[in-house]
Amino acid sequence: MENSSVPQSPTLASRVNSFVEWLFDGFKPTVPKRPKVFNDALLGNLLFARHEVAVIDCPVLQRLRRIKQTGLVYYVFPTATHTRFEHSLGVATLAERCFNAIRERSHVEGTAFGADGDRSRGDLAHLRMAALLHDVGHGLCSHASEQIYELLSDLQEFRNDPEYVKNSPGEILSYLIVKSPKFQAWFHEYVIQGCQADLNLERISNLILGRIDDPDKWFLANIISSAYDADKLDYIARDSRYCGLALTVDLPRFLSMISIAKYRDSRVLVLRNYVPLEQILFSKMTLTGSVYQHQKVKCLDSMLRSMVGHIVDNAAQTPVPVRGRFISFADPVEYLYTTDDEFFWQPNGFGDGYIQTMLARFRYRDLFVRCLEISRRTVINWDDGRQRLIDLNKQPYRLAEVEAEIHKGLSANVRSTCGNHDIRLSVPGIPSIKTGDALIQTSKDADVENIERYFPLEQWTEAYGHNKWRSFIYAPKEIAAAVRDAAIPVLEKYTGLKMDAKKSNQACHL
């Protein structure tokens, strides 16, 4: 066969466009007649202009109603059922509040603002639209699936490109959706022409990635993506509210402290005082320890990884049906086709026996349990270093090798009742802060300095890593003790870590 006849895999951008075409299939677009007010439990009444309502009503945004903001967290915190949809409305609103706060401070301090505050054209209109669209690249269970597909080769190419290295996989997919020919065509007809909105999608897509052509307006990009962006302001307040944690983001205080300053040829977002950032970081660390990396949440993420891994390995037998086609999670775009609601709650289920069993586990909350806790409390030689364990966070093939080795170490009787996918080693990452653009200027004439000169950002990650970070091995409860016994020598072989089984048993209630 000649090379020319070998089918070429379409590029990521082209596959994203196919997804957007699929998403719009059957949608009957209309031009909204009037603005709309949304009543948000967190931020109150949110007013959206006619052209924004057009975007809110389109399938790209409506799809986010079916993706929970915090993935599977609601199995642990029952009220955490808020979605990426309301978060997107919140980020658009908070982006404008940041914009207005900076404008007000510039006016009070007698400095140039230089941005246009019109809702249907100019800087504010672009800022709000970018905020509204910033999360459209989220797929099944939000970050839970992002952790799985981020290591696929398509996205690794982006991650190694200086243009995109700062961006998360979800941001890159959002960017590609907004840049897709299908979305552009619809946007041009129904938003730009239909609603007479003077908007440039190229500029909006760049803002989603946290960049802008004009260095004098770099602060607008900072509002979308930085250490204290509108996204963070919304998700910290929203996630803590819906998880029932009494954390506070003092928004009025924060807004009164932001400004813009000249820094290395750009005008950037700065804080006049580090205290609001301290509060944001404290809340983020608390959320990370209590919610995002809660042991049961990591267990749920691991169970999702089991299902996805099984589907990838058995694509022919267990494809996931989604409106008129089947997917098998072979590439990052396939995670966009299905949403939390559609994946877990199909009336007749889908897949082979294993997938049906796992779906039933989710339905009845019959979750895997902890077999081993790997932490400074349970590892005898913790101070000798644990790099080989941490490495597994970035080496999925090696992680799978460890899990398979544990499975191999089970007795024949136990092994016959389970597969590799029933043994999950979870090695969480560490919360990160975009320190590169966390800047402080104590007064309008003071030097612009990195926030670390005032506030020990690194202390937070150091303290979190030392005191709170834990890795776990999970399995179905029927085989938990057997998996624990098989895992201890395998763990030592692969990572050099020697377990104190008694302490681990106490931690795992085993």
């Binding site: 770099w218 820094y263 270093g385 080989r388 320190t435 590169g436 690194e458 150091e462 072989k493």
Partner: protein, 137 residues
């Protein structure tokens, strides 16, 4: 020892630079412990420069957009080395970074065997250049 040979990750490169810098520091100053003043943004500046000269640092991709060069991969690597217990930060201001014995152990037992002689030579040179850019304490 690991069951199979490790693939080289950015964390390993950074860990190797710091372990070799400690050996170089012992040679130059006679002190077996390397501790230096540095916040993350200092490390960003240093590695942004060093990357231009040494191809082995190419994994630390720097963003070209924005007012200053910034590599999230470097930022993550620093955090992961802390999490791994290869480096630490000292109270009370956390400005002082120190290299823990585990970093040398990891370099000698795991990383070194994945490197060829030209890569080790590059890392040695980077370690010397790195030491000249930080204030040791």
């Amino acid at each position: 020892m690991a069951a199979t040979q490790q693939a080289l990750l950015p964390d390993h490169i950074l860990g190797a630079v710091l372990a070799l810098a400690e050996k170089e520091h012992a040679r130059q100053a006679g002190s077996e412990r390397l501790a230096f003043r540095s916040h993350d943004f200092h490390l960003q500046d240093i590695f942004s420069d060093l990357r231009k000269q040494y191809p082995i640092l190419k994994a630390f991709v720097f963003s070209e957009s924005g007012p200053q060069p910034y590599s999230p991969i470097l930022n993550e690597s620093v955090s992961r080395l802390q999490l791994s217990g290869l480096i630490g930060r000292e109270n009370p201001d956390y400005e002082v970074v120190f290299v823990r014995p585990a970093a040398n152990l990891f370099y000698d037992e795991v990383v070194k065997e994945s490197l060829d002689s030209s890569e080790i030579k590059q890392l040695d040179q980077i370690a010397v250049a790195f030491l000249s850019r930080v204030t040791t304490v």
